[in-house]
Symmetry: C2
Subunit: 149 residues, 2 copies
DNA sequence: GCGGAAGACTTGACTCGTTCAAGTAAAGGG
DNA sequence: CCCTTTACTTGAACGAGTCAAGTCTTCCGC
């Protein structure tokens, strides 16, 4: 038991996923954990505060393998670049601000995965239902109503 | 009543939306109607079969204003370029093939708009719930199971 | 601990969907 | 039919993401 009780055991997660433990991977996991819904650029910047020599290609590669392995989740709302989060496996959803692009988590209203079944799926084999709510975040909503006064 | 009974009255739709009626706009509407879920490049190609001199910028502009006016709907599944469809206002959803990217329509399981309500929306003012189902299309599904034999 | 093979990272060029900017052409109200 | 508004053309630019070649690390087996 070390002094990082509150932090996830990223090294263990990587080993459990049969992935090599490297400084860039640990730094990316910490960065995504610290800043949920960060885009690649933000992750890169955050990583470089701890590991200044990490290349942008490494961050793309790492985010790619972590996504494939299910250690991070990649989301990409229309009109946005790819964003990443550590919260995986609970099938939660997202609400996106149409004005500023801010993303927030929304718990699944149904709770089972996939949490919706399509009425007619055209023969597709469906494994996930992704829900994106669109609207205005509190800040943009008050701003808009103030402007229209 | 002209000889195009089966076709939508695109000119009327444009006028109703307070948009000028132009040859590029009519051609884009026809193209999107013919080929639902087409990306910008396909729309451009289709438009040029009728109007060979239309620029690619014009297609971007037209798709932009038609989307804003609600005459076409823009979707952008993660990892895909923007796609467009004429079917608007019925809040239907989409199923996307993880393997080949094919998109198909799925009727809304609930039927009201927004068809889901978030349990805790963090103060966001939500106006739409967009559902994307992920899986494999019939062709890719049979291909995969054949390969793994 | 140590060596070697598999895999990760660095560097730098490049692709391509999309946007920007300036000038020309067309729509449609008066 | 003219004039103003707004669309469209042309051509350059942007930026997220990818590709490719070479170097460095990880970690397994000894």
């Amino acid at each position: 038991m070390d002094h990082h009780d509150a932090e996830a055991d990223f090294e263990g997660l990587l080993r459990a996923a049969d992935l090599r433990v490297t400084r860039p991977r640990l730094a990316v996991l910490r960065a995504v954990g610290r800043q949920p819904h960060a885009d690649t650029g933000s992750v890169l910047a955050a990583v470089r505060t701890e590991e200044p020599t990490v290349s942008h290609q490494a961050v793309y590669d790492v985010l790619g393998v972590l996504s494939e392995s299910g250690l991070v989740r990649r989301i990409q709302p229309a009109g946005s670049v790819a964003r990443y989060e550590l919260r995986v496996g609970d099938n939660h959803h997202h609400v996106v601000c149409r004005s500023c692009g801010t993303v927030a988590d929304v718990d699944c209203a149904v709770g089972v995965r996939p949490c919706l079944h399509a009425s007619d799926s055209h023969g597709f084999v469906i494994d996930e239902a992704e829900v994106t709510y669109w609207g205005l975040c509190p800040a943009c909503a008050t701003q808009k109503s103030a402007t229209s006064n």
